[in-house]
């Protein structure tokens, strides 16, 4: 026998290795690339243009946004600044100087408590600015100015007349009585309809008592206004009736507009429930993170295979009796009692003929006679068993099969 050949691993160049790796993992590499691509495109698409989805947001071009009003005001020389918290608003007020600011205050989630709203109103007053509160809650409305109070909600109506001597309201004449403005066909955005009472109460919806609230209420000084229908300002309804006149006059009377939408940043820190990280010891989080890293390493350790998988070529083996079982099931499913009985009788006759030495071509009647003679059974009985009518039920088939076996045993015993 010749000495076995020595095998050395073939040296592969870096390019070959890369090519091999590419061919091997092509599917997963393409999958991962597609996933990353889709994620990045989705992220970029959702954030392009600095859009936001908030109601009354000045960067929201959707029907519920207020980009239209803000853009018009900016075009007319009003500098519009967005603010997300009370502190930021106060800073902006301080920067813009005395008597040069209007503050739009919108707090749909009531992040600010009454005392904080009062603080805001105080800051605006001390800065000599104007405050327009859009749909403030009942407590907030009371905190804005003692003269302004909430007067419940209103049902939707087509138009509301000014019905007062507030100069902005007089200029607007009529505004929408609800959102979407009935008759405009727009159905995209709805906003609450709140009523307020103040030193001056305007836009009292029809059907309300004269002492009831209106959509616009201001204090006697005219610097603090509550607007009960935010639908006046949103993009969807701005062009309708006197909405634009009212909104732009309310918001554009000073050179600066601070668009203050209360956010979660307004919630005082102490009111936030303690997070999990504050409740656990400080070392738990880094330790858990490290243990996670160790677990990943452990997976790498245990998951590394000792070489590629080895395949086993499996030959086809078929159990021989399967055709037999299949044929039996066919008989049973079709209730082929006649076929089954014929097969059983034929086999018994053949075996009896051989045992009684009658030859393969023996006449069945002769076999019956010989068997009767051999066992001493009545020939009529054997004739009906071996050559008689076909059994009618499965029960009879079964008893016939058993009797045939017994007969063969009888003949063999002789």
């Amino acid at each position: 026998m010749s000495a076995p050949a020595t095998i050395r691993p073939e040296a592969a160049s870096a390019a070959q290795t890369l090519q091999k790796g590419w061919r091997k993992h092509r599917f997963w590499i393409i999958c991962a690339a597609a996933f990353v691509l889709v994620t990045v495109i989705g992220y970029i698409a959702s954030n392009s243009g600095g859009r936001s989805a908030g109601t009354l947001s000045i960067s929201n071009p959707a029907p519920a946004g207020a980009q239209a009003a803000a853009t018009i005001l900016a075009d007319r020389g009003v500098s519009v600044e967005e603010s997300g918290s009370l502190a930021q608003t106060q800073d902006l007020l301080a920067v813009q100087g005395h008597g040069a600011s209007t503050v739009l205050f919108y707090d749909p989630n009531s992040y600010l408590g009454p005392d904080r709203v009062e603080e805001l109103a105080g800051s605006v007053r001390s800065a000599g600015g104007k405050l327009v509160a859009v749909a403030p809650g009942p407590l907030a409305a009371g905190a804005l100015s003692p003269e302004i109070a909430s007067a419940g909600t209103a049902a939707e109506s087509a138009t509301v007349q000014a019905g007062c001597s507030h100069p902005d309201a007089v200029a607007a004449e009529t505004i929408d009585g609800g959102t979407p403005a009935p008759g405009t066909g727009a159905t995209a955005a709805t906003t609450p309809l709140l009523l307020f009472k103040g030193a001056q109460t305007c836009f009292i919806p029809g059907g309300m008592p004269t002492g009831g609230g209106g959509f616009l209420a201001s204090n006697s000084a005219g610097d603090i206004t509550a607007l009960g229908n935010p639908g006046v300002v949103i993009n969807q309804n701005l062009a309708s009736r006197g909405n634009a006149a009212l909104a732009l006059r309310l918001l554009g009377s000073e050179p600066n507009l601070i668009w203050y939408t209360a956010t979660i940043a307004d919630i005082p820190v102490a009111e936030v429930p303690p997070s999990l990280s504050e409740l656990t010891p400080s070392w738990i989080f880094p330790a858990a993170l490290w243990l996670l890293l160790v677990a990943v390493l452990g997976m790498v350790w245990r998951g590394r295979r000792n070489g590629p998988l080895v395949s086993e070529p499996l030959p086809v083996h078929v159990k021989s009796s399967e055709t037999l079982v299949g044929r039996a099931r066919l008989y049973q499913d079709a209730r082929a009692i006649d076929t089954a009985a014929a097969a059983l009788r034929q086999a018994t006759l053949t075996r009896l003929a051989r045992q009684l030495r009658l030859g393969l071509a023996a006449d069945p009647a002769a076999v019956v006679q010989a068997a009767a003679a051999a066992t001493g059974r009545p020939p009529q009985q054997l004739h009906s068993l071996l050559l008689g009518p076909v059994p009618e039920s499965e029960k009879q088939l079964l008893s016939m099969a058993v009797e045939l076996t017994a007969l063969e045993e009888d003949v063999a015993r002789r």
Binding site: I7, A287, N306, E312, S321, T323, R327, Y331, A340, T405
Partner: protein, 430 residues
């Protein structure tokens, strides 16, 4: 690349500074140390690229017998190769210790003995060896799979070998009986010898007796140098599993016993494995050990899922021998396959040759025939009777055409076929 449990423990130990000294610096330090350990170990590990392999695989091993394949690893790198090597045998090779620890100094070699217990006949392969080389710290390893094909040929077990002594004795008795008792047995003139009482007077050679003073008789011996051709059917019917093995495996056992017996009996044996083309062909006219040539040729045979091409068998047989011979067809008597192919084939072959059809009988069929305890069992018994009737009919047709039929359960087929051969030989029909 691979890492070891030791590296995991070190990473786990780093939990202590992470908790004791919280801060980004500790994290950086711990990660840095781990990365440095990993890099150092990887750099200092012997390159698994610089390993030379030699395989030493046994030439042939019987199914069920253990053997040892040796794998020699030579470390051609300048560092000590510490780690593991795994021989990639396929599962049915039954490698008990395919994964072994190795430690080879530079320039030296080590032999890995892989104990194999094959569980399947045929060619069993190993395609590669995976070498995993750890660094001196034993934390990280470089792993590489080296393509190193090897093949182990697992030969048929030849369990029917145990029948061989008794059958050979029968064959020798045949020789002796032909000489002393029966004049008619055997047709070839063997020698002359003195008459002893009891010899058949018809065998007295009067001419030789006239030349001598004593009465001389002729002795005869069974024919020698007759041809036995075994045709092994490897078509789809050979894939049926009867008992523990396929019909093909039983056929191989029977063929081997018959071939060895016939060779000892002085006949020339040819073997043909055929379905639609010749899968194996052995002839005892070739030089060397007949049995060895046969098991080597039969070892890689697998049932093919195609129909037997009965039309071309006669032509294939003619390539083995052109003379009258004993033709043993190891095939299946199952209805359907037999009626279209086997009966016309066997009857046409029987005009020129002595034909024996050997077929495996399923004992489960006989068991199902007698089981009549429920309706389902009765239907099954009917189906079994039906199949047995068809079988009996085919057998009768074949026997009418002068074809011998051997139909026996798997364990009994090889001795039954051997008995048929001895009977035919004794009758001088070869």
């Amino acid at each position: 690349m691979a890492i070891s449990g030791r590296f995991i423990y070190v990473a786990l130990a780093a939990l202590v500074p992470i908790i004791a000294l919280p801060g980004a610096l500790t994290w950086l330090l711990c990660l840095g140390i781990l990365a440095a350990l990993l890099a150092a170990d990887l750099l200092l590990a012997a390159s698994p690229q610089k390993v030379a392999l030699q395989r030493d695989i046994p030439q042939g091993v019987r199914l069920g017998e253990p053997c040892t394949a040796t794998l020699r690893l030579a470390n051609e790198s300048p560092r000590v190769l510490r780690g593991e090597a795994k021989d990639g045998w396929q599962p049915s090779a039954g490698a008990a210790n395919a994964l072994q620890k190795v430690s080879i100094r530079p320039g030296e070699r080590a032999a890995l003995s892989v104990a194999l217990t094959p569980t399947r006949r045929g060619d069993l392969f190993t395609h590669h060896v995976t070498v995993c080389s750890f660094g001196p710290l034993g934390m990280a390893a470089r792993q590489r799979t080296i393509q190193a094909p090897g093949v182990l040929r697992v030969l048929p077990p030849f369990h029917s070998k145990r029948h061989l002594p008794s059958k050979l004795r029968k064959l020798r008795e045949l020789d002796g009986r032909a000489a002393v008792q029966i004049r008619g047995a055997g047709t070839e003139f063997d020698s002359l010898r003195d008459y002893v009482r009891g010899d058949d007077v018809r065998s007295i050679d009067w001419r030789a007796t006239a030349r001598r003073r004593d009465v001389v008789v002729r002795t005869w011996r069974p024919e020698r140098d007759r041809r036995v051709v075994i045709v092994l059917d490897t078509s789809r019917t050979s894939a049926s599993r009867i008992g523990d093995e396929t019909a093909l495996d039983t056929g191989i056992e029977a063929s081997l016993l018959l071939a060895v017996l016939a060779e000892r009996g002085g006949d020339r044996v040819g073997l043909l494995a055929y379905d639609r083309r010749v899968r194996a062909k052995v002839s005892s006219t070739g030089k060397g050990n007949m049995l060895n040539a046969m098991v080597q040729a039969l070892a890689p045979l697998e049932p093919e899922l195609i129909e037997l091409n009965t039309a071309d068998i006669a032509g294939a047989v003619r390539t083995v021998t052109a003379h009258r011979s004993l033709l043993v067809l190891v095939t299946s008597l199952d209805a359907g396959a037999a009626e279209e192919g086997l009966i016309p084939l066997a009857t046409s072959l029987a005009r020129q040759h002595v034909v024996v059809v050997a077929s495996v009988r399923d004992p489960a069929m006989d068991a199902a025939r007698l089981e009549r305890t429920s309706t389902t069992a009765a239907y099954r018994a009917a189906a079994a009777e039906h199949a047995l009737n068809r079988r009996a009919a085919i057998t009768a047709v074949l026997q009418q055409a002068g074809v011998e039929v051997v139909d026996a359960p798997p364990q009994e087929l090889p001795p039954a076929l051997a008995d048929t051969y001895i009977r035919l030989k004794a009758a001088g029909r070869l």
